[in-house]
């Protein structure tokens, strides 16, 4: 046990368990504030736009999208990869907490897991709609069908299906099992009959027995442990969708680690955005302290360095390979050609601006933290745009080169997923404690004991 006096407090103030319960259940027990309804309305409107775009895609076909013969993967796959990337941070936080015993992740992992679940849901929609006939989506499952066909297990697209569904299911299990004790607490406290019934039902009869806790702790460790490699595998497999093809700009061995770091990077940025909003909205300053935000900023700083290194490596390898197509894609199309604006936005937003976090002043300034976290996600979106479109639009044959621009339907589906995400997160902050109450209690206690020890030591 490290007893460092210089360490920041993870939970501020000497709080009793009762106080912690009261303060962390505020969002569930009080009526939602006005902005909640405003957000919900905006989310619903966005969702309706998404519904319209979905309807257009189904009723008129994918011709309503901006796809062409050359650019067969456009906004749908860009946004799919972008959302999946965001969905990475939740499980990463849970693993920091459960496997690496990083106590600071304890008060963030619930919200981060929620973000993961909704982001992966948003992501999953894109390939589903891209199939053109989503009602036949079950064709991708390996089952003995009437057509006597089996799947091609060598296809990365099948791995992708497997990876994302595994990730979604495991994340939901981690998230849900983690909140069972809190749901039981709410069920005991709430006066609302419907609430009591529902929370009681979902708390699975949890009664706080120490023997249950003992098994529960083991279960969470196992789940965290087996989810840990999943964090790496999901985006690696998404990257393999590209890397096993022969297109310049895609056909590179660096793609899997590059995608993985990008995913962690954008996911942490999104967590930062959300945590800044939540702690302000629900007065969680004592639980999500400057120390937490500072830690996330540190991760972003190093993530940004690795991303920058990956960009440079890609350029270097393209030049070093001596392949004309590679050199064209990287140095002409991306860095200086028709995609240069997007390329430099990507480089500056991802690799340069987050370097601000080397300065303590920037890490302490909430406005800067918030703006940079959003800038990172814009930059990451451009990264996916660059990878997808620049390689496809200008490939081997200049005769097949095209421009790519999304249509209203493309944009509509993207906005729709924002609606889904917003509504999902708002429902989460309305009905589930944002900070895991049962996990914060031991942390607060450890903090108290540490302080006491220091006091005794001083005397």
């Amino acid at each position: 046990m490290i007893n460092n006096k210089l360490r920041y407090a993870l939970v501020k103030g000497d709080k009793t368990y009762g106080q912690i319960t009261d303060e962390l259940l505020v969002n569930v027990e009080q009526k939602p504030p006005l902005w909640w309804f405003v957000g919900m309305t905006i989310g619903t409107v966005l969702l309706a736009i998404g519904g319209w775009a979905f309807y257009m895609s189904l009723s008129q076909g994918l011709g309503t999208w901006g796809l062409t013969n050359s650019v067969a993967w456009g906004w749908d796959i860009i946004n799919f990869v972008w959302w999946i990337g965001i969905g990475h941070a939740g499980t990463a936080f849970t693993i920091f907490f459960l496997v690496f015993r990083q106590k600071w992740a304890g008060s963030i992992n619930r919200a981060a897991e929620a973000m993961t679940v909704f982001a992966v849901m948003c992501a999953g929609l894109f390939p589903l709609i891209h199939m053109g006939r989503p009602w036949l989506a079950f064709f991708i499952l390996p089952y003995p069908n009437t057509r006597l066909l089996w799947l091609n297990f060598n296809s990365p697209l099948f791995w992708d299906v497997l990876a994302i569904s595994t990730y979604l299911i495991t994340s939901i299990m981690l998230w849900y099992m983690g909140m069972v004790p809190d749901l039981a607490t709410i069920a005991q406290r709430t006066k609302n009959k419907v609430g009591k019934f529902l929370y009681g039902m979902f708390s699975l009869g949890w009664n706080g027995s120490l023997y249950t806790y003992s098994r529960y702790e083991t279960l969470m460790k196992i789940l965290g442990g087996i989810a840990a490699p999943l964090v790496i595998s999901v985006h690696t497999i998404v990257a393999l969708d590209f890397a096993v093809s022969v297109l310049p700009g895609w056909h590179a061995t660096i793609l899997p680690p590059y995608f993985f770091v990008g995913a962690i990077f954008s996911g942490f940025a999104m967590v930062l955005t959300l945590m800044i909003l939540f702690r302000k909205a629900f007065n969680l300053y004592d639980y999500v302290t400057e120390k937490h935000l500072d830690n996330i900023a540190h991760v972003l700083k190093y993530g940004s360095l690795i991303i920058g290194l990956a960009y440079i490596t890609e350029l270097f390898i393209a030049w070093y390979s001596g392949v004309d197509y590679e050199i064209y894609t990287f140095f002409r199309a991306r860095a200086t050609g028709s995609f240069s604006v997007a390329f430099w936005i990507m480089v500056v937003f991802n690799a340069v601006i987050p370097q601000l976090f080397w300065f303590k002043k920037a890490r302490k300034n909430l406005v800067i933290l918030f703006i940079v976290s959003i800038i990172i996600n814009i930059g990451m979106w451009f990264e996916r745009y660059i990878i997808m479109v620049s390689s496809l639009a200008q490939d081997f044959l200049p005769s097949s080169w095209t421009d790519y621009s999304p249509t209203m339907v493309d944009v509509g589906i993207y906005l729709g997923t924002f609606g889904l995400f917003t509504c999902g997160m708002l429902m989460f902050v309305r009905y589930i404690p944002i900070v895991a109450v049962n996990e914060v209690k031991p942390i607060a206690r450890a903090e108290k004991l540490r302080k006491q020890k220091e006091k005794d030591h001083d005397h």
Binding site: W150, N154, L210
Partner: protein, 172 residues
Amino acid sequence: MTTKQIIGVFDDESVLLKATQKLKKNGVNIQGIYGPSADHDLIKKLTRESRLPYLSVVTGVITIILTFAFVYYVSVIDYPLHYGGKPVFSFPPMVVILFLVCILITGAFTTFSFLTSEKMFPGKSADVVDPRALDDRFYLVLDRNFNPDEIVKWLQDSGAEEIIEKENENQA
């Protein structure tokens, strides 16, 4: 049979830990310990280690074997289709599939086993000693049939905040 219980209420884990250890040493039958959270120390000292990890490992191994058999059957025996001259069976893609299926099934099965072993299911009504057991107090539930006066004394000595004596019909 009606169960007679003595319940000690504590507000701190370390006091609870000491009391429980003392009562255990004196041979008192402990029926249950309930609380809002459990720190690692308490779990380690008062409960047996869970055997869930062994189950997970076995599940994982069985899953890997079955998945391998399935994929092999599909791609080599039942439907050996050549894609661009590649071998019908290749190991690298297998690694990805085995890895993912193993995680999925092991995770789901371990969760399911946990719920089964704790007899937890959706809609089960919780046998909570007291609502505060899920908020800020720890409840040490003891068997009253053995020497009640002495138990009460021991509890008082070890710093219990409150002592409840119960003669109820349903077991907590």
